[in-house]
Symmetry: C2
């Protein structure tokens, strides 16, 4: 199955058979003090810089989140999206839980963006899906609902089914819904990775849709996070994930390696090209 | 399925459901000049050092290969194995294509060792399997035959079947045959990783045996080998490999991360313990 996103002039195809699509996560003020302060000051230079750096580092799509307590998200999301789309030519992923902010920003952005996110909560389904449908956008569906994030893979599968069904009802086709089976931190519950991997397999098998992964949370609270994140990405790709929200500066090389290993990179062209453009100086990477 | 190996006093269980078992590969003079010279000089101090370092770094089993052109492998393998088993208390994996060297060394080693390797060539099957059976050892079966290493996964599956059948005929049970589906270098053929991953899936599905992986060769000739090797290990483990011949100094942390992600490390005990014992100083690993 294929999900198409676009900017003003370019199209990104997310294919269930890969190669993996990277959604850059860095434009998000959560735990990112410098960005929060810049947004508070109405200064978008840093947003611009984060956009350019992530695209240079291999991001195919950019997530844009401007949620800072006390700021007007409706105005700010639109401003930020305009800044990003004037700086780089990749599709954007509008990251907000505020339907009004989403609707306003969706109207301001060219092409076909992605919305991050809807989930299985009744309020979310009712508020977000119509906005996505009206704009002809695609949407990420998180497998959580009014009871929270299920501990088990089977309930996450059921929520994915519910989101797909409700999306279909308002006229959003399955190819425009990317399911994110969510991953909790293994620092809190060490079975979290395995549950998410199982959910990926089940959802892929049952619905055949594109699956997104937030690839950093899994290692929160544990040492050597990069080693865990890389291994998780590989396991998730092997299980059927086709898309990842992550820091391309840290994980794009690993994504290229995974695509190469899965036979999706003829003559290693993308791998070698990426390496040549981004090879780190200094000690060999671990 | 479970393969049991033992040293004089310890047992190692290789289980198809994991956790991954690490066979340390460093006692091998191929491309390792210092070791080749030490063996030529009859000096075993470096063998001793490599044995101790690998076990400290997380090796569960040690591969012992002393193939140096011009040296008497029959005498040398036995000497080396005695040195290794006097230095560390893990099962050994006798790595030789010489049946006489294998038979002699097998007689000198305590416990239940592993033999590396038999393959689908008629000469290999006839020479190696009886020696393995006589000693009650386990054996690694490489999926190659008189036509070389097959380009496709299906033929490797067929060779695995042949090895298992021939082993059964001389009285070696399937649990004492660990199949290695081989991996060629992606530097030569960029589909090599994908073919091996497919072979792992097929062999695991069809025969349910333990599967071993040589995890370094895949990246030969490519840059950022560590990134590729780590991703390959994760994909292979996800596909069903339960055992890896590798450099534990480089990949044991990744193996621990994979087991944790696959839900095989309750409370992350092994991961954290390994990290505490081996955390690198200096810049965070990549």
């Amino acid at each position: 199955m294929q999900t198409f996103l676009s900017s003003a002039t370019t199209t990104v195809k997310i294919n269930t058979d890969g190669p993996m699509v990277i959604i850059g996560e860095k434009i998000n003020p959560t735990g990112h003090k410098r960005l929060a302060e810049a947004l508070q000051g109405g200064d978008f230079d840093y947003v611009r810089e984060l956009a350019a750096r992530q695209v240079a580092a291999g991001a195919d799509v950019l997530d844009v989140n401007v949620g800072v307590l006390g700021l007007d998200e409706v105005a700010l999301l639109t401003q930020a999206v305009k800044v990003v789309t004037s700086e780089v030519n990749v599709p954007v992923c509008l990251d907000s839980a505020n339907p009004e902010a989403l609707a306003t920003a969706l109207a301001a952005v060219p092409g076909k963006p992605l919305v991050n996110s809807v989930n299985g909560k009744e309020a979310s389904l009712q508020a977000v899906l119509p906005v996505v449908k009206d704009r002809g956008a695609a949407v990420i569906g998180l497998t959580m609902d009014d009871h929270g994030i299920p501990k088990d893979a089977e309930t996450r599968l059921a929520i994915a089914g519910k989101i797909l069904e409700r999306a279909a009802k308002v006229g959003i086709p399955a190819e425009d819904v990317i399911i994110d089976p969510l991953v909790l931190s293994m620092g809190v519950d060490t079975t979290a990775g395995a549950v998410t991997l199982r959910a990926i397999e089940l959802i892929r098998q049952e619905f055949g849709v594109n699956i997104n992964l937030g690839a950093s949370n899994v290692s929160f609270g544990l040492p050597e996070r990069q080693v865990i994140n890389q291994a998780f990405l590989a396991l998730a790709a092997g299980a059927g994930a086709s898309c990842v929200i992550t820091d391309p500066m840290k994980l794009a090389m690993a994504v290229r390696a995974i695509d190469l290993l899965l036979g999706r990179d003829a003559y290693a062209r993308r791998y070698i090209t990426y390496f040549r453009a981004h090879a780190k100086e200094g000690p060999a990477s671990h």
